[in-house]
């Protein structure tokens, strides 16, 4: 096989045994790789009704066929499992360097099953595979853990690990790789913690064989040059990373503010990209093989929030900033660093604290329960809550369950802004209707990474869509969901993929991506065939979550019944009922959202 190694590593933590298996080439072809092949195995091997934190759940690390190839951003991996936050599928995606190092061990997938009796970590140095005791690492944060493991093994090793939040099974726990990158969402870190698995150390030099190495190199260089030309002209992504986005979403009135009680934030200019660049940015930091370099190495040089690290990117500014009403950028940066060190999803963490602030301000949770005042804008209280969540101390134990369970416990579930119990990212869908349909239908609960039609509704890439209309959005959302399933499965980053390896029509089309896949694998896909594989992946996930009992595609109360009070989208709610029936029809699903027998047969499921 080319592109894929065609081998997976199975790690049984209960029996402390490992084994190597071949992956059926037809499965690779039909499910592409990464998210898709991992989902194939999860569906085959895990009962969808399993308790996500029980040993019977499995957790899969998966690289794509383009991971560790010359493709620009060919450096992503996915963590696929049943989510303890949503009860649906989790497919959390990360870059950095670890994904390429993982692929260079000579395996496409690591499948973790069971639960170790005591903390362990996994070392994979090509065919040297060892489960080792991790008692000395347990309790350490992700930075300490990474440093200790690199010191024990090699500076050439790359590490993915959990911090205290994952150990303590907080439902917003992430898996952090290379200290600053996160497979963040859906509580994948809690699943890793439930297995008593502290870390994975990857070492190796086994790049996958390529079908046409020279052709792939040439196409990759050409693609990188296109990115480079835009960067030279002054790309926002290089200059600001995604921290330029608050100015955009605030202008459109969809910048989540005070737990989505507003769509504009009066202090946006204090926390946006310009402020970050002028005050705290050291330099842009790229993931491996990325010509764009959207990462931000930052430093708060002195004061109570002194520190150095990476971030914040847009979603963090939205959740821990405007979401919580916080306008102190240094404090926001510190909060970001803490999330990375404790191993937490900044979206889930920030929006859960935002929900708690609303509960507190409305008098639904008393101060003696919280242990302190918790008003919007109180950045010190926000920082205190992050630690309490990670360690599940006091009120932090409630927060560690995420905003839905928190608000339900205190009698006001209408305050939680979630779908499938997962917190919304940074686009208020009342002013971005397609995003509303996306959040409602997403297999992993509310997520922009499931099919980010904000590219068209907000950013004009590749074409500008009116964000306030519902016409045509069902088709757009379906197409973006499938396209993102393809990108995640191939092993690329959406930032470069959407703009540079898809065609530039409204219905983006994977022309160059198909070419890359063919040069890499030698399969001879057509774009139609590869999009059919993406649809297959989307539907196999859909069947898993329906069987798991996550059958309702809806939005939280606020999005359907509380019109935005301010900004250009004032007066609007999400008109979900105008989009959902058409979406089901286009998907080939019945009126209740179940894939029909005909659709499943068409996809070979």
């Amino acid at each position: 096989m080319y592109g894929w190694h065609g081998r997976l590593l199975r790690i049984n933590l209960t029996t402390q045994t490992t084994s190597i298996e071949d992956i059926d080439p037809q499965v690779c072809r039909d499910f592409i790789g990464g998210r898709g092949v991992a989902m194939y195995y999860l569906s085959k091997e895990v009962d969808p009704t399993v308790d996500p934190l029980a040993p019977e759940n499995k957790m899969i690390f998966a690289a794509g066929p383009l991971t560790a190839t010359p493709a620009p951003t060919g450096n992503r991996y996915m963590v696929v499992t049943k989510s303890p936050l949503t009860g649906a599928v989790a497919h959390s995606n990360s870059g950095g360097e670890f994904p390429t190092w993982m692929k260079r061990t000579g395996f496409d997938l690591f499948i973790f099953e069971g639960r170790a009796e005591s903390p362990m970590y996994l070392l994979v140095n090509e065919d040297q595979v060892e489960l080792r005791p991790a008692g000395h690492l347990w309790g350490k944060d992700t930075h300490e853990t990474t440093d200790l493991l690199k010191a024990e093994h090699s500076d050439e090793a790359r590490v993915a690990c959990i911090g205290p939040a994952g150990e303590n099974l907080a439902l917003m726990a992430a898996i952090i790789n290379d200290k600053h990158r996160a497979a963040a969402r859906s509580g994948v870190g809690a699943v890793m913690g439930s297995k008593n698995l502290k870390a994975v150390v990857a070492l190796g030099t086994k790049n996958p064989p390529l079908h046409d190495a020279e052709g792939m190199r040439s196409l990759s260089v050409d693609t990188s040059k296109n990115v480079g030309a835009d960067v030279k002209k002054g790309s926002n992504m290089r200059t600001y990373g995604t921290s330029y986005v608050p100015a955009v979403t605030n202008t459109l009135g969809i910048f989540p503010t005070y737990n989505f009680q507003q769509g504009t934030f009066e202090h946006t200019d204090k926390i946006d990209g310009e402020a970050l660049k002028n005050q705290y940015l050291i330099r842009p930091t790229p993931c491996y093989r990325c010509p764009l370099s959207c990462g931000r190495l930052t430093e708060v040089p002195d004061g109570p929030y002194k520190g150095k690290g990476e971030g914040p990117e847009y979603e963090t500014i939205s959740s821990l900033g405007s979401g919580c009403g916080v306008s102190d950028l240094a404090a926001l940066i510190k909060a970001n660093y803490l999330c990375n060190e404790y191993g937490m999803d900044t979206i889930g963490t920030g929006m859960t604290i935002a929900a708690a602030m609303e509960l507190y301000e409305k008098g639904y949770v008393p101060e003696d329960v919280v242990g302190m005042s918790l008003k919007f804008g109180d950045h010190d209280a926000m920082i205190a809550m992050i630690r309490k969540m990670a360690y599940r101390e006091g009120f932090g134990d409630d927060l560690a369950q995420g905003s839905y369970r928190l608000c339900e416990k205190y009698g006001h579930p209408e305050i939680a802004v979630t779908t499938r119990k997962q917190e919304f990212p940074g686009y208020d869908p009342r002013g971005s209707q397609g995003m509303g349909l996306l959040y409602a239908t997403s297999n992993k609960g509310a997520s922009h990474m499931e099919g980010d039609v904000a590219y068209e509704e907000v950013f004009g890439v590749p074409v500008k869509e009116n964000p306030l209309t519902t016409e045509g959005k069902a088709e757009l959302v379906k197409h973006f969901e499938d396209s993102f399933a393809l990108i995640d499965s191939a092993g690329l980053c959406v930032f470069v993929a959407l703009r540079y390896v898809f065609s530039k029509e409204r219905k983006i089309w994977p022309e160059r991506l198909t070419e890359m896949m063919n040069l890499t694998t030698g399969i001879g896909y057509t774009p139609e065939e590869i999009m059919k594989s993406a649809e297959r992946i989307y539907n196999i996930e859909r069947m898993f979550l329906l069987k798991a009992g996550s059958t309702e595609d809806t939005l939280p109360y606020r999005m359907l019944h509380e019109p935005l009070p301010d900004g250009p989208a004032a007066g609007r709610v999400v008109e979900l009922d105008k989009m959902l029936p058409e979406f089901y029809q286009l998907r080939g699903w019945d009126a209740q959202g179940w894939p029909t027998k005909e659709k499943l047969a068409e996809l070979g499921l």
């Binding site: 600001y240 459109l252 200019d269 890439v461 250009p568």
Partner: protein
């Protein structure tokens, strides 16, 4: 009449030297369109820009009114 032009992120550099922040207030004749308003600052009018009137997607030939805000930013992947 007076309108406000906001040029976000890297488009801020298209504002005249000495401008503060990303916003400028300008005097325009009645009948000025959205496209004409941002053209003064050499904002590209093709699909490399996103241009909105009071935060709303409009035809670029829409005339502006007293007190309006026209904002523009370069079309690029999001966050």
């Amino acid at each position: 009449m007076k309108i406000t032009v906001k040029l976000l992120a890297n488009y801020k550099d298209l504002l005249p030297p000495g401008s503060v922040g990303n916003t400028i207030e300008i005097e325009v004749p009645r009948g000025t369109t959205v496209a004409e308003a941002v053209s003064r600052f050499e904002v590209p009018l093709d699909d490399s820009s996103v241009i909105v009137l009071n935060g709303l997607t409009v035809d670029l030939n829409t005339p502006v009114s007293e007190g309006d805000t026209v904002a523009a930013f370069s079309a690029i992947a999001g966050g």
